[in-house]
Symmetry: C2
Subunit: 251 residues, 2 copies
DNA sequence: GCCGCGTTTGTAGGATCGTAACAACAGTAT
DNA sequence: ATACTGTTGTTACGATCCTACAAACGCGGC
């Protein structure tokens, strides 16, 4: 079995199929249609198991059955299968989150507790950054060495906030980053203070108003890990610390 | 635990979470945020298990962790969770079907084998009907007693085919059905021949050109079950049989 | 000491995986 | 006609893995 096929089977398992179901479904697409024996011959699924597996695939709407002797199976088209799985997914998601929304309680006091949260994984850090940025009302500082950490959603949010009258400044020593914002209206571009050594492992920094901050580093298993805090004493102190050291450098 | 909650947990399991993961996620939304003990107190998840479950939820991007003592957990917002799960789903689906598309073989001879296929479930019958209808090039006959079996997608496809110059005739004795097509251009409405007794269990009939036919019945576990055939001798013979009996009645 | 936190280990149950035996049937040779 | 052969569809049964669930442990703070 090829590595690609193993990967595809894994993916199908993530979508809720068993490995047998994935193998039978794939085999039937190879064959266009076929009997239990046909399927068993080109997979490692025992023939005796094909019948029940096919039945369960029929229940999921992924194949059709010809009641003959021998029984023949026919997979539905890829487009139809995708649509079927997708609508099933949407339905389940609706059921699940409907309830969560009904029971979730209001965040009391808008995050006034002294909390510093950890976020692992680049996409997650990205989401959280956008979240923090879009709550800014007066000023934003965004800094990074790495152009690839200026994702489209970040860029969009910065531009949107700038347009809303928020003072946005992007801090980077790298030209690649600086150029990304050269054309954006209302965005000030600055260089980091000279005294700050550029740690190779630093990721991005996000400051929104005087009460929200996010700081990420690269490395570790997840690629990027961030800590962030919003509305806490921690946040404002951290922000002051960071910015005070810059002010001093200027003087 | 309420029935709603059980349903929601089931739904989360369908989305790939374990029941513990679902319970912890829901509990954290109830609390807005909390420690392992907080969660254990309002669920039947043992406190000692909350830590590992939360870790796995963090990997999935469904909650964030505060590294303190005690450890505090914070769920991501419903919108963020939905988006995360959805993009994960899309990614997996892409991985899975990309491979299937690469290996699927061309249907040789365009369904010339003598095959009659079975389809169970109303939605599936609907899909197959639309599929057959949209391959019609010259004429279409669509019949049903039941207005609810004239779904929007059927209606759309019939109108689209009629617009493409296909001769479309809808056959029904029910006014509710007849009225649905009264306004559609290019669609002829007919009554079934008087000699044909209207079996209570009949569902829909779809005929496309002289080579594709689908026939469904209501009843059984799945609500609606259909047989269909395309390009086979079976199909053309069946079509002739059905239509011949009508012709005779006319004479 | 005492108590709560976080970790680790162990067991029971369920679902999937994988093997094997079985009756029913069709075709062939005797 | 009978016996033999091979296939089909069904059923039963261990092996294996993961989840659910329970209990114990080391640790640090009060």
């Amino acid at each position: 079995m090829s590595g690609d096929e193993t990967a595809a089977i894994d993916a199908f398992e993530q979508l809720g199929l068993t490995s047998y179901e994935a193998k039978v479904f794939i085999a039937l697409h190879r064959l266009s249609a076929g009997t239990a024996r046909d399927v068993a011959d080109i997979t490692d699924v025992p023939r005796s198991q094909v019948y029940s597996v096919a039945e369960s695939l029929e229940d999921r709407g992924l194949l059709e059955v010809q009641q003959s002797n021998p029984i023949r199976y026919r997979p539905v088209s890829v487009e139809e299968a995708r649509e079927t799985l997708r609508s099933q997914f949407e339905r389940e998601q609706e059921r699940a989150f409907e309830y969560v929304e009904a029971v979730e309680s209001e965040p009391e006091g808008e995050e006034t507790q002294e909390n510093i949260w950890t976020v692992r994984g680049r996409d997650r850090v990205d989401d959280r950054s956008v979240d923090i940025l879009s709550q800014a009302e007066h000023r934003i500082v965004f800094g990074t060495r790495l152009p690839e950490l200026v994702t489209p959603s970040i860029e969009r949010t910065l531009a949107e906030r700038a347009a809303a009258g928020v003072s946005v400044s992007v801090v980077s020593g790298r030209d690649a980053v600086r150029e990304q914002f050269a054309a954006v209206d209302g965005v000030t571009i600055e260089r980091p203070p000279a005294h700050r050594t550029d740690d190779q492992r630093s990721g991005r920094i996000v400051i929104a108003d005087d009460d929200s901050i996010l700081l990420s580093v690269r490395g570790g298993e997840d690629g990027e890990t961030a800590i962030w805090s919003s509305g806490s004493l921690f946040a404002s102190v951290l922000i002051q610390l960071i910015e005070a050291s810059d002010e001093m450098a200027v003087e």
